[in-house]
C-alpha cells in the first residue's frame, strides 16, 4: 500500500482530475447539459466537505505530504477551500449562462483543471511545483476566457490573456532560474535557509541577483494578481470572458497569485525584506488607489468589478510589507471573504446576462422591482466589498488594516500606518461607485417587467450571500483558521494582539 500512502495527500487533485477527464465524454452521453454541472459539483462538494471537516470541525486530517514538492497545511487547505467554494458558485451559475453554447463538457473540465492548478500552487513547497501549478491554472483559464469562440469579445479576451499570461510565465520562470543559480535549490524554504544561513556568507542580503529575481517574480506574479502597473489586461479580459469565468478569474485565479507571492516573499526571500518592503508598500497603495479611481468612471459593471478587484488586490498586498503572522492572517482572511463577495457579484451579473438584462450600469436601473433577490444580493456583495459591517468584507478588512496599525506602533515601523490610512481612504472612495450601483437598483426608475432567475443561479448566489453574512456575523472560526494558516510562516513575528 505504499503507493496509496503516497497518493493519500493527493486525493483532492485525483478526484478533480478524474472528473475533469470524464467530463468531455459525458458531454456525448447526456442530452440535458445541466447534468454536466451536477456531475462537476460532485468532486467540488466532496472536497469542500472534507476541507471544512478538516479545518473547522477537526474531524479529519489529511496526511502530511509524502513529497518535498508539496506541503499540506492549514494554509494550503484554506486556499483549497477558497478555490473549491468559488468553483461551486461558478459551476452553479454556468449551465444557464452557457445553455446555448457547444462543448459544455470541456467547459466544466477546464474549470476543474483550473482549480487543480490553483490548489497545486497553494500546496507547493518548491518553485517548480509552483510553476507547474501556475501553468495548469493559466492554460485552463486562457481556454475558458475564449470559450465562446465565435464571439469576438471572448476571443479577444483570450488572446490578450494568453499573451500577457505567457509573458508573465516567462518572467516567473526566469526568476526561478535565478533563484536556483543563487541558492542551488528550488525549494522555497531551502532558498530562505540559504539566504539566511551562515554557510553562504558570500550572498549579501542585498545581492543584486536575488533582488533582480525578486523584481522579476513580483512582476510575473503581479500580472496574475493584477497589481498596478501590470493590471491593464484584467478589465479587458473580465469584460470579454463569459461572466462566470470572469468570476473564477477574479475570485480564485487571482488568489492563486497571492498564495505564490506569500510563499516566495515571506518564506523564500524574507531575509531581504528590508530591500523590498517599501517598494511593495508603494505598489500596494498605488494598486488600491488606481483601481478605485478608475473604477469610478466605468459604465460597464464587469469592468467596474475588475477595477474593484484590482483595488482589493492592493488591500491584500498590505500583508507583504507589514509581514507579521497577524498581517498574513488578515491577507488570507480577506482572500477568503473576497472570494465570496466578488464571485457573488459576478454571478449576479451572470444571472442578469442569463435573463438578458445586460451588463451596463444603466441596466441595473429598477432592478429591485424586476428581481428583488438579485438586487438585494448585489447590495450585500457591494456593501461587503466596501467594508460595511456586519458583513464579511468588514471583518477581513478590519484584521488586515489593523495589522498595519499594530505593526506601526513598533519603533521604526511607524510608516506602516500609511498603509492603513490609504486602505481606509480607499474604502471610502470605493463606496462611492458601489453606492451608485445600489442607487441604480433601488432609486432609479427602469423597466418594470419581472424577471425569473434560473434556480441553479439562485442557489449559487444564495450560497455566496449566506457566506458573506455568516462570516460577517460570526467571524471567529474563520479568524482562527486564518491564524493557523498564517502560523505556517514561521519566519514572521507571531505576535497576536
Amino acid at each position: 500500500m505504499d503507493v496509496w500512502n503516497n497518493l493519500n495527500w493527493f486525493i483532492p487533485q485525483l478526484l478533480l482530475i478524474f472528473f475533469a477527464l470524464i467530463m468531455p465524454a459525458l458531454d456525448y452521453i447526456f442530452r440535458d447539459k445541466r447534468i454536466l454541472a451536477w456531475v462537476a459539483l460532485i468532486p467540488l462538494l466532496t472536497i469542500g466537505a472534507l476541507t471544512v471537516a478538516w479545518l473547522f470541525a477537526g474531524t479529519w486530517t489529511p496526511l502530511a505530504s509524502g513529497t518535498p514538492l508539496l506541503e499540506i497545511n492549514v494554509f494550503s487547505g484554506l486556499f483549497l477551500l477558497v478555490f473549491v467554494a468559488v468553483g461551486i458558485i461558478v459551476v452553479l451559475s454556468s449551465p444557464d449562462f452557457i445553455r446555448k453554447d457547444k462543448n459544455q463538457g470541456e467547459y466544466y473540465a477546464l474549470v476543474l483543471l483550473a482549480i487543480i492548478g490553483m490548489s497545486v500552487v497553494a500546496e507547493s513547497a518548491d518553485l517548480i511545483a509552483l510553476f507547474v501549478g501556475l501553468e495548469i491554472a493559466g492554460i485552463s483559464s486562457f481556454a475558458l476566457s475564449g470559450f465562446r469562440k465565435t464571439e469576438k469579445r471572448s476571443a479577444e479576451a483570450a488572446t490578450k490573456y494568453f499573451i500577457v499570461g505567457g509573458f508573465s510565465s516567462a518572467l516567473t520562470l526566469f526568476a526561478i532560474s535565478l533563484f536556483y543559480g543563487v541558492a542551488g535549490t528550488t525549494n522555497i524554504s531551502g532558498i530562505g535557509a540559504v539566504l539566511a544561513g551562515p554557510s553562504s556568507q558570500w550572498i549579501m542580503d542585498s545581492d543584486p541577483v536575488v533582488l533582480l529575481a525578486a523584481v522579476l517574480l513580483l512582476a510575473g506574479l503581479g500580472f496574475k494578481i493584477a497589481m498596478v502597473p501590470f493590471h491593464m489586461w484584467a478589465p479587458d479580459v473580465y469584460e470579454g470572458a463569459p461572466t462566470p469565468v470572469s468570476g473564477l478569474l477574479a475570485a480564485a485565479s487571482k488568489k492563486m497569485g497571492f498564495a505564490a507571492l506569500f510563499k516566495v516573499f515571506l518564506i523564500g526571500i524574507l531575509v531581504t525584506k528590508a530591500q523590498w518592503e517599501e517598494a511593495v508598500a508603494i505598489l500596494a497603495i498605488l494598486t488600491m488607489t488606481v483601481g478605485n479611481l478608475i473604477a469610478v468612471s466605468q459604465t460597464n459593471i464587469k469592468r467596474m468589478l475588475a477595477y474593484s478587484s484590482i483595488a482589493q488586490a492592493g488591500y491584500i498586498l498590505i500583508a507583504l510589507p507589514v509581514a507579521t503572522q497577524y498581517a498574513v492572517a488578515g491577507g488570507v482572511f480577506h482572500i477568503l471573504t473576497h472570494a465570496f463577495m466578488k464571485s457573488g457579484a459576478f454571478m449576479v451579473v451572470a444571472a442578469m446576462g442569463a435573463v438578458a438584462i445586460g451588463e451596463r450600469l444603466d441596466d441595473f436601473k429598477g432592478l429591485s422591482r424586476r428581481s428583488p433577490f438579485l438586487a438585494f444580493s448585489m447590495t450585500l456583495f457591494l456593501l461587503s466589498l466596501a467594508g460595511m459591517p456586519p458583513l464579511a468584507g468588514f471583518a477581513s478588512k478590519f484584521v488586515l488594516f489593523s495589522s498595519a496599525v499594530y505593526s506601526s506602533l513598533e519603533p521604526g515601523q511607524s510608516w506602516l500606518i500609511w498603509l492603513a490610512i490609504a486602505g481606509v481612504l480607499n474604502s471610502a472612495l470605493s463606496l462611492y461607485y458601489y453606492a451608485r450601483v445600489i442607487k441604480n437598483m433601488y432609486m432609479e426608475k427602469g423597466p418594470e417587467e419581472k424577471v425569473t432567475v434560473p434556480p441553479m443561479m439562485c442557489a449559487g448566489i444564495a450560497f455566496a450571500v449566506v457566506m458573506v453574512v455568516l462570516i460577517g456575523v460570526f467571524p471567529d472560526p474563520f479568524v482562527s483558521v486564518c491564524k493557523d494558516a498564517a502560523s505556517a510562516f514561521t519566519g514572521l513575528l507571531s505576535g497576536w494582539p
Binding site: 488594516f401 489593523s402 496599525v405 463606496l431 442607487k439 471567529d476 494582539p497
Partner: protein, 507 residues
C-alpha cells in the same frame, strides 16, 4: 424586575425581528406599518420598564449591576464572547448618560413610524428600514465594546442612505450620496482611532472598560492628542460641527419627514454621545489639550448655525440649520469639562431630540397639507389649521428656549457652566438666543399668522391628521413635563457624569 433576563438585547432584537417580518410580508404590503408599530412599541414599553427599574443610586443589588470601579457603573449589563480570537465581546449596558438617549430612541422611532402612517410608496421597505435604523441607534447607545459600537455605528448609515435616496425630495440622489460618503469617511477616522487605542492598550480586548483601564498607563500625551483629534473628527461630523456640517442641510431637506426626525433626533446624538462616552473618558489628556479648540468650534457652530437660519426661505432647511446651532450647545457644555456643563450637554441632547422631532414633524405637516414649505408662499395658515399652528408655535417656542419648556433648562445650564469657565466670553454664545428668537418668530409670523396666503391654493388645506397629531401631541406633553421637572432626567445623568469629571480631573 429583569433579573437574569438579557433585557437590553431583547429590546435591540425586537425591531430587528420586526424588520425581518416586514421584509417577508411579500404582497401584503399594507400590513407593514402595523408590524413595524407593534415591534417598536414593544421596545418602547420595555425600555420604559427598564427606566423604571433603573436604580438611581446603584448598588450591588441593582439589576445586572456592573461596577466599573472608577469607570462608568453600568446596569442591565450583559457580556458574551463574540470573536474570541480578536478579544471582541458583545457587551451592552446602560448608565445615566446612555439611559435618556436609549429611551429617546425607542420613543422617537415609535412616533416616527406612527407619523409615517400614510406612506404609500414601498411601505414594506420603508418601515423595515426604519426598524433597522432603530436597531443601529439602540446598539450605539448601549454597546460597551469598541468593535460592537463601531458595527452598530455603521449599521445606522445604510438604512438612512436608502431613506433619503428612495423616499427623499427632488435632489435626493445628491443628498443621499453626500450623507453616505461624508459620514462614512468620519466613521473611518473613528475606526483607525479605535484600532490605535486597541493596540496601544495592548490588553487584547476591545472592551471600553479594559482599554480605558490599560490606557491610564499606556496612553502617552502625544498619542492621546493624535487619537483624540481623529476620534473627535469622527464624532464631530455626525454632530455636526462647523465646518463639517454641510451634509446636514442637504440630507435634512431631501429626507422624508420621519427620516429627518430620526436623523436630527437620534443620529446627531450619536456624535455627541460618542464624544462623551468614547473620546473624552478614554483620552482625557488629549481632550484637555484640545479644550479651547472644542469650545471655539462649539461657539462658532452655535452662532454660524443660527445666522444661517436667518437666511433660509425653506421652513425645513431653517430647522435643519437650527440643529447645527443647538447641537453646538452640546459641544459647548462638554467643552467646559465641568459636571454642570456635561450634565447640561447630555440633557440638551435629550431635549433637542424631543423638540427637533416636533419641528420636523410640523414641517412635514405643512408640506403635506400645503404642498410647499417655502416661507414666502405661506401665510395665515392658523386660520385653516389652528391645531397645527398651535403645535408649531409651541415647538418653536420650546426650541428658542422659553422658560418652562425643556430646552430652557438645558441651555441655561450650558450658559451657566460656560460662565463659570470663561466668564465674559459668554456674551458670544448668548447672542445666539436673540438670533434664534428672531428667526423663529419671523418664520412663525410669515407662515402661520397674518393674512391668508394667495400664492397657494388653500381651499383644500386641512388641519393635522390623527397620525400626525398624536405623535406631536405626545412629544409636546413630554417637552412640558421635562421642562418643569428637568430633575427627573438630571437625577439619572448626574451620577454618571461625576465619573467623567473625575476622569478629567485625574488626567
Amino acid at each position: 424586575m429583569f433579573e437574569g433576563i438579557p433585557i437590553i438585547s431583547i429590546i435591540i432584537l425586537m425591531p430587528l425581528i420586526g424588520a425581518v417580518v416586514t421584509f417577508l410580508l411579500g404582497k401584503r404590503e399594507q400590513y407593514a406599518k402595523y408590524v413595524a408599530l407593534g415591534f417598536s412599541l414593544v421596545s418602547l414599553i420595555l425600555s420604559v420598564l427598564v427606566t423604571l427599574a433603573y436604580a438611581i443610586e446603584p448598588g450591588a443589588t441593582s439589576t445586572g449591576y456592573h461596577d466599573g470601579n472608577g469607570f462608568f457603573n453600568y446596569q442591565f449589563y450583559e457580556s458574551y464572547s463574540w470573536i474570541e480570537s480578536l478579544g471582541i465581546n458583545y457587551i451592552v449596558g446602560l448608565d445615566g448618560i446612555s439611559l435618556p438617549l436609549f429611551l429617546l430612541t425607542t420613543l422617537l422611532s415609535t412616533l416616527s413610524i406612527l407619523f409615517s402612517w400614510d406612506t404609500k410608496l414601498r411601505p414594506k421597505e420603508y418601515f423595515g428600514l426604519m426598524l433597522i435604523l432603530e436597531v443601529g441607534v439602540l446598539g450605539v447607545f448601549t454597546a460597551l465594546d469598541y468593535f460592537v459600537f463601531y458595527v452598530f455605528w455603521e449599521v445606522v448609515l445604510i438604512p438612512m442612505y436608502f431613506m433619503i435616496g428612495v423616499w427623499g425630495g427632488p435632489r435626493k440622489d445628491y443628498a443621499a450620496i453626500k450623507f453616505f460618503i461624508y459620514t462614512h469617511i468620519a466613521s473611518l477616522a473613528l475606526l483607525v482611532s479605535i484600532m490605535a487605542m486597541y493596540f496601544q492598550a495592548g490588553v487584547g480586548s476591545f472592551g471600553m472598560e479594559d482599554i480605558w483601564r490599560a490606557g491610564q498607563t499606556e496612553f502617552t500625551k502625544g498619542f492621546q492628542l493624535i487619537v483624540f483629534a481623529a476620534a473627535f473628527f469622527g464624532f464631530g461630523v455626525k454632530v455636526p460641527m462647523v465646518p463639517f456640517h454641510t451634509w446636514l442641510p442637504d440630507a435634512h431637506v431631501e429626507a422624508p419627514t420621519a427620516g429627518s426626525v430620526l436623523l436630527a433626533g437620534l443620529l446627531l446624538k450619536m456624535g455627541g454621545y460618542g464624544i462623551i462616552r468614547v473620546a473624552i473618558p478614554s483620552l482625557p489628556m488629549g481632550a484637555d489639550a484640545m479644550q479651547i479648540v472644542i469650545a471655539v468650534i462649539a461657539v462658532v457652530s452655535i452662532l454660524y448655525g443660527a445666522m444661517l437660519c436667518l437666511a433660509q426661505k425653506d421652513l425645513k432647511k431653517m430647522v435643519a440649520y437650527s440643529s447645527i446651532s443647538h447641537m453646538g450647545f452640546v459641544l459647548l457644555g462638554f467643552a467646559t469639562f465641568t459636571e454642570l456643563g456635561i450634565v447640561a450637554g447630555v440633557f440638551q441632547m435629550f431635549a433637542h431630540g424631543l423638540v427637533t422631532a416636533v419641528l420636523f414633524m410640523m414641517c412635514g405637516v405643512v408640506q403635506h397639507k400645503c404642498g410647499t414649505r417655502m416661507i414666502p408662499s405661506l401665510g395665515g395658515l392658523a386660520k385653516k389649521m389652528p391645531i397645527a399652528a398651535t403645535m408649531m408655535t409651541i415647538g418653536f417656542l420650546a426650541s428658542l428656549g422659553l422658560p418652562g419648556l425643556v430646552s430652557f433648562a438645558a441651555e441655561f445650564m450650558v450658559f451657566a457652566s460656560m460662565f463659570q469657565m470663561w466668564s465674559v466670553w459668554l456674551f458670544l454664545p448668548i447672542l445666539s438666543v436673540a438670533i434664534t428668537a428672531g428667526y423663529y418668530l419671523w418664520a412663525l409670523q410669515k407662515s402661520m399668522f397674518g393674512p391668508l396666503t394667495d400664492k397657494i391654493d388653500t381651499t383644500h388645506v386641512h388641519d393635522v391628521s390623527w397620525y400626525e397629531g398624536v405623535p406631536v401631541g405626545a412629544l409636546i406633553a413630554l417637552i412640558a413635563i421635562f421642562g418643569v421637572f428637568p430633575l427627573a432626567v438630571f437625577q439619572y445623568i448626574g451620577p454618571a457624569v461625576k465619573v467623567v469629571t473625575a476622569l478629567l480631573g485625574g488626567g
